[in-house]
Symmetry: C2
Subunit: 614 residues, 2 copies
């Protein structure tokens, strides 16, 4: 039997079926979150099968499908049940939930084509939805709408309020949030319990339209989604009073049932309570308008020009590069955390204002938005000070699980920024980005290599981090030199090298200066520009390790997880000793050179270390 | 001439002096943020010298002093100017600002006794203030008040709203925020410009009292601070309309003057505009009531009891330990991010409800609050899932610069949590905490070592991270075994060991199982429990490296920055090869054992690796 969309009887039957699937799949899995799924079941059935949601089930990736993100990722049994009720997941597949190898993971994973983004770390879905809504409104110019299911507990996350504030600023009336106010968090009542007005006041104060409903009344649910279609100029939040565990009397509104499944006998009892369940019915979702974004036609980028005698900061080269290469990579967009005149993202913004998004000082939402844009086919470059990406580590880590294609660009790396002091110094960023599975970490020393590596980053599918420097640095390379992800440059070498210095960015110039001083004393050393820290050019490093008596790494970053450990790891099976010079003392304000000296990563420190070893 | 407190003429003169100091110190330094300092000058002069602020300038650390935190840390020239005007910093010292070795750093640093916490990464001060206010209200029970100066730009940070929401929940009427609405951010206008009502609506919606004033009208400023003294039941936000650069006509309200200092000639012109400046005056601050918190008397803790045959999760041992040792460390408080029934912080909460703070799902504010408590002499233990500490990396990093004494406890480490999937798996936490300068990273394998290491953490002054495991694990140790920060345990060893396995936590049991299997085949290996990953027991590792042909590290964590790289770093100068076994494939849902196998960190994988090497 095929249901006609949206009749009350059909929706009632579908809601029952969805509840049945939630209970069956979680009991089969032996773990999961049935109670948190049941509270939102009516809301989501009303959304998906009530007629308002448009989705071509045969093309989950279709550009004009409405998007649905479960920010409360632990309600994944509901998500899977919905797509099963839509006929897109078989009952058999549903029963593989949480089992090894199943795309139906404990929390939504993009292995399942109907999942827009991996969620499960709370408070991230609204930012991702914002990225998708921004894309619809300002880039692809498509009528699709983005819906985000939110938990009440997760409204405590500040990231939610970053998204709420900025979605209003960008007038995203194509973005709809739904808060499932089921009163209970993991370990007890939430801050506001069932007080819907607490959410209403706060969300409305940020300029959103709010609609309060009983989340188990289908007419109210349908009425609310209906209203969201016509409201303009601002995003809408549906705030729904729900009962955790709704439909299973003995767990309804009860504490102690978070993340707990029914045992077999409890399951039988619960199913009996649900009454007749028609497992043959399937909900129909109307297709969206068959429209697609204007295809972008890549054109060749202009060539860069840097006079070889004029030092220039790599952060500025980043801005130049992005503006320059855009014609060749027309899927690029840029986002910046209110420091575009420091990161030089503003150069891109000046050239392509329609593709530059000011994200203000809210890094978590910037990264979530970038993920939403990436999932809609864009190539987002997101920039702020290297230090401030630590603010969004959770979003960065989660974006990896969504298969993100984001380029992060962190400026003001290291103690060499000088007087501003440690709060502004990126000293953990290499370590942080190195942990991203399959991620790329680039740290160019001069403008030419920066430009080339920005191009490589745009070409590369996946997460790339580019670390830039505040100070002007000399031009080292010519525009014919090539730079690749996973590469390095041997800048000084001979048959008589005693020691190899491996450096990148600012310390590369210290190493080159030390080379000159040592050469005057008749001591030759090898100098390698390790501009690609991950992946690492193990072959070149190993060759140097066998050819010289020791490796010295020098980095303007804390010792842990940085360039030094990357090299040690690459050479861990080779007997040549690797000595790490890195930031090990409490950083402070001072002149760049004073600080390099203080931390023992200056040309003099390198010179001394080499002499000590030979 | 000594000023009597609070007369209008005195305050006017002091405001002029403060402006003069701001300009003089920044022009002398050649960098800094005069315009952002000038906008808040009248507000802060009114606060500090208007009579409401109580502070014993001879005892900056005194427990009943009012606290003043500059969340907008870039207004440090104002902070220093205020303390200079209070007679606590000499003019000579003021002129050392931003110079190497000066306690007057580019952003406030705790090297200066009048700085309550290091700031400069925006949006963190209110959380820190919340910790200090919580301390006053619920722990030390002192009448001191906490004031936080906020920038308008930084209100975009979600962390602000986490603090705002929770300060209301804890009814902190001893907490006063002051938003310096100077309209201009770093690169242009803020989202709301001079629309004070935008801030008012939002802050009031979260239940705070709001007071709107002209931030350059001394009567309005004094009136506002007066009102904050009598309001009860909720925190207060003063929202002040100010002019960036106020007092220097040619930079007032002008874009392009953020973080820019006056040149010498501009400085002379600005000083002329200020009119007569009396550099001999000093502002008086009344002393607070000479009252101190009840001293806590440590009592000996009870002994732990774990039957050796009953496996128990280390996360549960954490909760047990904290409750048990509290009498001995009565400065302990516990905070948890709404997962106390998973981290088992709830055990402490049940025993000591008055010292347990539910922080809801808002990790950034939890860490900031912990810092505030730490700065007031408490020993905060803050817990959530290991994965979710990534949410607060910026706060963790900054807390180090405040000399924090915080213990972070992250549960649900690694792929071995199983079915919940990657969003819940802590796989970057060791790398993250290892970057903290001087920080300690502990990863106990069984309940006994966990209890001992929780004790060590409480005893240790500084940042400690303890990684706990979800699954029950067997008891390995007896209560007479000792565990120290920087230690390790050699669990299996002989004269004939071929290889050394270094593991910690869950993988230690895999290593021990591999040992048994290999022994049956006549192959002996050494097994080391590296429960202290930082600092690391280099001596024991080196001994093993010289005694065996290879080291194999095994960890339930990504390869980068984890246990393996810590060991490689410790052995980087020793020729013995170090092989790292770690999480290198995209994690997913599954049974713990399936996932250990999939990632190649199981007993079988170890067995195979050993055989491959010998």
């Amino acid at each position: 039997m095929e249901m006609t969309e949206g009749t009350p009887a059909a929706l009632e039957s579908l809601a029952k079926l969805v509840r049945y699937y939630i209970l069956a799949s979680t009991t089969e899995a032996g773990s999961g979150h049935p109670s948190s799924s049941l509270s939102a079941a009516d809301l989501m059935v009303g959304l998906m099968f009530g007629g308002g949601f448009r989705f071509d089930v045969t093309r989950p990736g279709f550009s004009n499908n409405d998007r649905l993100i479960f920010s409360k990722g632990h309600a994944s049994p509901l998500l899977y049940a919905l797509w099963a009720a839509a006929g897109c997941i078989s009952e058999e597949e549903l029963m593989t939930m949480r089992k090894f190898g199943s795309p139906l993971e404990g929390h939504p994973a993009v292995a399942l084509a109907f999942v827009e983004a991996a969620t499960g770390s709370l408070g991230q879905g609204l930012s991702i939805g914002m990225g998708m809504a921004l894309n619809a409104r300002y880039l692809d110019k498509l009528p699709y709408r983005t819906y985000v299911l939110l938990g009440d507990s997760e409204m405590a996350e500040g990231s939610q309020w970053e998204a709420i504030q900025l979605a209003k600023e960008y007038r995203l009336d194509n973005l709809v949030g739904i808060i499932d106010v089921n009163r209970l968090g993991q370990r007890g009542e939430t801050m506001y319990g069932h007080d819907l007005s607490a959410y209403e006041k706060r969300v409305a104060a940020f300029g959103w339209e709010t609609i309060l409903i009983d989340g188990h009344s289908m007419p109210e649910i349908l009425g609310a989604f209906d209203r969201t279609q016509t409201l303009t100029g601002k995003p809408v939040m549906i705030i729904a009073k729900t009962i955790k565990g709704k439909g299973v009397s003995f767990i309804e509104d009860k504490n102690g049932w978070h993340g707990k499944v029914l045992k077999r006998d409890e399951f039988e009892k619960a199913v009996a309570e649900l009454g007749d369940i028609d497992r043959s019915i399937r909900g129909e979702i109307p297709k969206p308008e068959d429209t697609a974004p204007q295809p972008a036609h890549p054109r060749e980028a202009a060539e860069m020009i840097y006079p070889t005698d004029k030092p220039i900061a790599t952060r500025r080269a980043y801005g130049n590069a992005l503006a320059r290469i855009f014609p060749q990579y027309p899927r690029i967009v840029a986002l910046d955390g209110e420091v575009g005149n420091s990161t030089y993202a503003e150069i891109f913004g000046e050239h392509h204002p329609e593709r530059f998004f000011e994200m203000y000082i809210a890094e978590q939402n910037m990264v979530g938005t970038a993920l939403g844009l990436s999932r809609r086919g864009k190539i987002p470059f997101a920039s702020t000070f290297a230090a401030f990406f630590t603010r969004a580590f959770d979003q960065i880590r989660m974006s990896r699980y969504s298969g993100a294609n984001i380029k992060f660009v962190g400026s003001h790396a290291g103690v060499s920024i000088g007087e501003d002091g440690p709060s502004q110094m990126g000293l953990e960023d290499i370590a942080m980005f190195r942990t991203i599975l399959g991620g790329v970490v680039l740290y160019p020393a001069d403008a030419v290599s920066t430009e080339r590596l920005v191009e490589e980053a745009a070409r590369h599918e996946g997460i790339v981090y580019i670390r830039t420097t505040r100070k002007d640095t000399p031009i080292l390379y010519s525009s014919t030199d090539s730079f690749v992800i996973g590469g390095s440059k041997v800048l000084r070498q001979s048959d008589k090298d005693h020691i190899t210095i491996v450096a990148a960015g600012i310390t590369l110039f210290e190493a080159l200066a030390a080379y000159e001083d040592l050469k005057k004393e008749g001591v030759l050393i090898r100098v390698i520009d390790l501009y690609s820290i991950k992946p690492i050019d193990a072959a070149t490093l190993k060759k140097a390790a066998w050819a010289t008596m020791a490796i010295i790494t020098v980095e303007d970053h804390f010792a842990e997880g940085g360039l030094g450990e990357a090299v040690q790891s690459a050479l861990a099976e080779i007997p040549t000793p690797v000595h790490s010079m890195a930031v090990r003392r409490m950083p402070k304000s001072g002149k760049p050179d004073e600080l390099l000296e203080y931390e023992g990563i200056s040309r003099f420190a390198i010179l001394q270390k080499v002499k000590e070893l030979i």
